[in-house]
């Protein structure tokens, strides 16, 4: 496999992981614009462990994810008190704090960046990505998936139905941050060098875009979104720098024509033949009195 192709596929797998990190809070009705910060925590923590203590990369990456999750849990309590645009701003600020802290943290290289000696290749990263997809898919097949969607759709009714709205929001935010941290660790151990500047607001927004464009209603949305919008710029590479224009135009067109994202739950239920009555409107109209 050429270096270029492996690089693209690694980036694809890492982006898929990141996308699920953004998906969990979005599924609970919250936008986390500080995701890059949690990815940075995972990247730096795992790199520090493997560099300094010789921890095997796979274990270091897992611990990095947990570190990101622990910090998310601590900040979630105050941050998730805010709503809507204020929540987006608070999480954005959170990402900035992490980035600024790492820029000034000399033990991990500060502004000069941090080389990572241990190295993992595509198969390991792909396995991690597949694992994340499977775990999130399984999680959403439990009552957790129903509860989180209920919280997303109508917090007040969810509360009256006995759901602990805040607990579900904190859980989704924390789990998402763990996944983002794992993504950061994977990135660090393949590209051998990390710098705080990479984990900026641009990265957070790109990841959130994958989820919004792919679709927030099903666990497949982030996967589709990350795959399409990682590969699209690569496919458009032939058009030189116009590819960024084409990419942005594609984003706007999609937002205008399909604001619910590429895949929706209704669509999947129809494909699987589960929503037999959702498609036969005429039949519903003729609902018998019984």
């Amino acid at each position: 496999m050429s270096g270029y192709l492996e690089g693209v596929l690694v980036l694809l797998a890492v982006n898929v992981v990141f996308a699920y990190g953004a998906f969990l809070p979005v599924a609970a009705g919250q936008l986390n614009l500080g995701l890059a910060g949690f990815a940075a925590i995972g990247a730096y923590a795992s790199a520090f462990l493997s560099n300094t203590y010789g921890v095997t990369p796979v274990l270091a990456i897992a611990v990095g994810g947990i570190a990101a999750g622990l910090i998310a849990l601590v900040v979630a309590v105050p941050v998730l008190r805010t709503r809507g645009i204020y929540l987006a701003l608070a999480t954005f600020a959170l990402g900035q704090i992490v980035q600024a802290t790492l820029l000034n943290l000399e033990v991990v290289g500060g502004a000069a960046g941090y080389p990572v000696t241990a190295f993992i290749r595509l198969p390991t990263i792909a396995l991690f990505a597949a694992g994340v997809v499977v775990v999130v898919a399984l999680l959403f097949a439990t009552r957790f998936g129903i509860a989180v969607t209920a919280v997303h759709d109508d917090e007040r009714v969810a509360d009256l139905m006995g759901l602990d709205v805040r607990a579900f929001q904190i859980a989704a935010f924390t789990l998402g941050s763990i996944i983002a941290g794992i993504g950061g660790g994977l990135y660090a151990h393949h590209f051998s060098f990390i710098e705080a500047q990479y984990f900026n607001i641009g990265l957070s927004i790109t990841i959130v875009l994958y989820v919004l464009l792919g679709g927030t209603q099903t666990v497949l949305g982030p996967l589709i979104g990350a795959v399409v919008f990682t590969l699209l710029p690569e496919i458009l590479r032939g058009s030189a720098n116009w590819r960024y224009v084409l990419f942005a135009a594609a984003v706007i067109v999609l937002m205008a024509l399909r604001p619910q994202g590429l895949v929706t739950g209704e669509q999947i239920r129809r494909l699987l033949g589960l929503d037999r009555h959702g498609i036969r409107q005429a039949e519903i109209a003729r609902e018998p009195a019984a």
């Binding site: 399984l138 439990t142 009552r143 129903i146 969607t149 009256l160 139905m161 929503d275 037999r276 009555h277």
Partner: protein, 268 residues
């Protein structure tokens, strides 16, 4: 089957919104096993009573007792575990869940905790919670809509799904906010049959806010009349229809006339 202790008791409850007193020193009992209607003109405070009982709005004074327990300070989230469930004036189902999943939301309070939350209800079709939800839909004659996206369902079906969802919590007190509003006669009949089945064994008490007096007459055995957040009458539907004061403010007299008199009565 009825017993002496009221399932719901409001004791001198007051609720103000800014300068407006929505509920004014209101006391009433709902008899266990009854089907009680809460009626009154627009703005009488009927929905506010529901919001007070479910804890959606805090009260300024008084107490709310459910089955003898004072739940005035119990968080809204925990009240469903005390046996209080409700439907909403405007259908509030979760648009991104299927009909079956919406019904499963109602089971949450009986299947909470980490183990409950991780129940793989959507992983295999014969999970017992999923089966129970499906059985409830079948019982209500709605099984054909189980996999459907709720926004595609007819309004009357959505209203009944909301009732089924509330019943999954196995409440003792079911609050229905204008269940028949916006339904055609066929849908209203289907709803009445569903409520009939729910109340069959007397384990569930109904408290219904409804404007449709035909529906109230056919469904309820007791009526409480509110006006300006106060109770002005109670009795059987027949008694209420005959009550001169209720007729004056609510049922028959021209609106303008009645409104003037109500304003006069209020300033007095």
């Amino acid at each position: 089957m009825t017993n002496e202790r009221p399932i719901l008791r409001l004791e001198r409850v007051t609720k103000r919104f800014g300068g407006m007193t929505a509920i004014d020193d209101l006391s009433f009992d709902v008899r266990c096993g009854s089907r009680t209607a809460l009626i009154g003109p627009n703005g009488a405070g009927k929905t506010t009573v529901f919001n007070i009982v479910t804890g959606a709005v805090p009260i300024d004074a008084g107490s709310v007792f459910v089955d003898g327990k004072d739940i005035s300070r119990v968080a809204s989230r925990r009240r469903i575990a005390h046996g209080v469930a409700r439907s909403f004036q405007n259908v509030r189902l979760m648009p991104h869940l299927t009909t079956l999943e919406n019904v499963m939301v109602g089971q949450h309070c009986r299947n909470a905790g980490l183990f409950g939350v991780l129940q793989p209800v959507n992983l295999w079709p014969h999970n017992r919670w999923r089966e129970a939800a499906r059985a409830a839909l079948t019982d209500a004659g709605l099984e054909r809509y189980a996999g459907a996206t709720v926004k595609n369902l007819p309004y009357g079906v959505q209203k009944r799904v909301e009732v089924v969802r509330a019943m999954m919590a196995k409440p003792h007190l079911l609050l229905l906010d204008e269940p028949a509003a916006g339904l055609n006669s066929t849908e209203t009949e289907a709803l009445q049959r569903l409520l009939e089945r729910i109340c069959d064994n007397g384990a569930v008490t109904l408290l219904v806010v409804e404007h449709d007096m035909h529906f109230v007459g056919a469904t309820c055995d007791e009526v409480i009349v509110l006006d300006f957040g106060r109770k002005i009458a109670e009795g059987t539907p027949t008694e209420i229809r005959a009550n001169a004061r209720v007729q004056e403010i609510y049922l028959g007299t021209p609106v303008t006339d009645a409104t003037e008199r109500r304003h006069a009565a209020r300033s007095a």
